[in-house]
């Protein structure tokens, strides 16, 4: 068993009378890729804000340490900085100038944007901008990468490419990842564990584990089955007679 990076124990968060998360327990282990899916407005972003330390729970405990980087829903690149200057934000702790340049060059090559460092975000395509975001989050030292629907503003084909890109980048720069998404395919194609949240107040309704190595073909039977199971869990597809071979289990302390 890998060691735990972050542990939520009976965490609740309410805003005034609205209870968004209720009694949620969750463990993120070092090196794993966890995807969180659920109906819109179920509190996925609230959960991310708690994980990043931006927000505090109303009750319950969050234990964990380490540097957290976040990739946001809408582009968080500074439009007044070049691609290079944006990426360098992730290297602010590195004092040595030559070392910064070296790491920057390496990263630009890794994301396939060498020669584009001097471009401003608005001069780049949506996919290129997203790769710069990933580069900024992955450069330097960090432990946990939080992603809030990072590819939702991209067109479908670019989104498929970016999934492959993310898998490849994580191969080079391993990180623990929590991905919040409403794209079920994305979750099934990338995650080791898919957590399906219930409607508000959110709880983990089901956990689906995938052991297939990344990058995974979208049409691989295990990915398709995982998609099917999530859809069934969300009540969007009948749970047919076919028995899924994907390992599934209920979270601790719950009976299905």
């Amino acid at each position: 068993m890998r060691d735990s990076l972050l542990r939520l124990e009976n965490v609740s968060r309410s805003f005034g009378p609205v209870s968004v998360l209720h009694d949620l327990s969750l463990e993120i282990r070092r090196g794993e890729f966890v995807a969180v899916v659920g109906p819109s407005g179920c509190g996925k972003t609230t959960l991310l804000n708690l994980l990043s330390g931006y927000d505090r729970p109303t009750s319950g405990r969050i234990d964990g340490s380490g540097t957290v980087r976040m990739v946001y829903q809408q582009s968080g690149l500074f439009p007044w900085k070049t691609a290079e200057e944006n990426v360098l934000l992730g290297l602010r702790h590195v004092r040595d100038h030559a070392e910064r340049r070296r790491q920057l060059r390496q990263m630009l090559v890794l994301i396939g944007l060498e020669g584009f460092g001097g471009h401003y975000p608005h001069q780049l395509s949506g996919g290129m901008q997203q790769r710069v975001e990933l580069a900024r989050a992955l450069i330097g030292e960090s432990d946990l990468l939080l992603m809030d629907e990072p590819f939702s503003s991209l067109d479908y084909i670019t989104r498929l490419k970016m999934r492959g890109e993310l898998a490849r980048l994580l191969e080079e720069r391993p990180r623990t990842v929590v991905l919040v998404t409403h794209d079920i395919e994305e979750a099934a194609q990338l995650a080791d564990r898919v957590l399906v949240l219930s409607g508000r107040p959110a709880q983990v309704q089901r956990e689906i584990c995938l052991s297939l190595p990344r990058p995974r073909p979208l049409t691989h039977p295990e990915v398709v089955r995982a998609v099917h199971m999530v859809l069934a869990e969300l009540g969007l597809e009948d749970n047919g007679t076919e028995s899924p071979r994907v390992e599934t289990r209920l979270p601790k302390g719950r009976t299905g």
Binding site: M70, Y72, G76, F78, L89, G90, R92, Y120, H122
Partner: protein
């Protein structure tokens, strides 16, 4: 080849139109459609221009007007931008000051003329004061728009440890710079309008005084000299400020 032809035509067309207008003016005044005294001929204006230029008065008037605009406009920008930042970033300051600023922004600067003369007499100061009040409140309002800068930029800044002076110079100000530049261009034009009116009433020199003095001396040719010079300098001021929009790091704000 074709593109250079188009570029040439774009440069040539306004010159041709100006020559045509000048010719029409000459023909009209030669035909004596209007009385000479109220419709000076181009040649008279050209002679008047040469006269004023040789006596050195024109140069002095230009310097006086430009100096007043630079001081009034500069002071308004220098004080307006910081106040706008405070109003934009502090909800209390916004609630208290915004209605006040809005009131004065919508008050015609010319309404201040009686008090400008009462308080400051004649000379540079009343003009500078009038320019200041016509620019200051607009600059404050457009800088206060920092309140509507997308919150994601401030979250990203926080994630990467930007705070204090760095936050101000690397995030807050760049985020509103395109808007501030647009406001500076508009208000510089306004300041140039106001200085003429101010000098007519409270000046002993300057281009506004030149026009008023010429009118009192029944020298309508010199009135036109003043008009031409004022128009040309106004265009030059706008051209100079337009260069600010070419700064690479503000380009994103003008992409549509």
């Amino acid at each position: 080849m074709k593109e250079s032809k188009i570029a040439f035509r774009i440069k040539l067309l306004p010159v041709l139109l100006a020559l045509a207008a000048l010719a029409a003016w000459a023909v009209l005044s030669n035909m004596g459609v209007f009385p000479r005294s109220s419709f000076p001929a181009p040649m008279e204006v050209a002679t008047g221009l040469g006269e004023e230029f040789q006596r050195g008065r024109l140069f002095q008037d230009v310097v006086a007007s430009v100096y007043r605009v630079m001081v009034g406009f500069g002071l308004a920008a220098l004080l307006g931008i910081p106040l706008g930042l405070v109003i934009g970033l502090r909800a209390n300051a916004r609630a208290a000051l915004l209605p006040f600023v809005n009131f004065f922004r919508n008050l015609s600067p010319l309404a201040w003329i009686p008090f400008a003369i009462l308080w400051f007499g004649v000379g540079d100061t009343p003009s500078i004061f009038l320019i200041f009040v016509s620019v200051f409140f607009s600059v404050v309002l457009s800088t206060a728009a920092v309140a509507s800068v997308p919150a994601v930029y401030f979250r990203v800044a926080r994630d990467y440890g930007l705070r204090g002076a760095e936050l101000l110079t690397q995030v807050t100000i760049p985020a509103i710079l395109p808007q501030i530049i647009t406001t500076l261009r508009v208000t510089a034009g306004l300041a140039w309008l106001v200085v003429v009116a101010a000098e007519m009433i409270a000046g002993r020199d300057g281009l506004g005084f030149l026009i008023w003095d010429a009118r009192n001396g029944l020298r309508n040719d010199l009135v036109v000299v003043g008009m031409v010079v004022i128009g040309l300098i106004g265009v030059v001021i706008d051209r100079i400020l337009m260069q600010l929009t070419r700064i690479p790091s503000v380009g994103w704000g003008y992409e549509r």
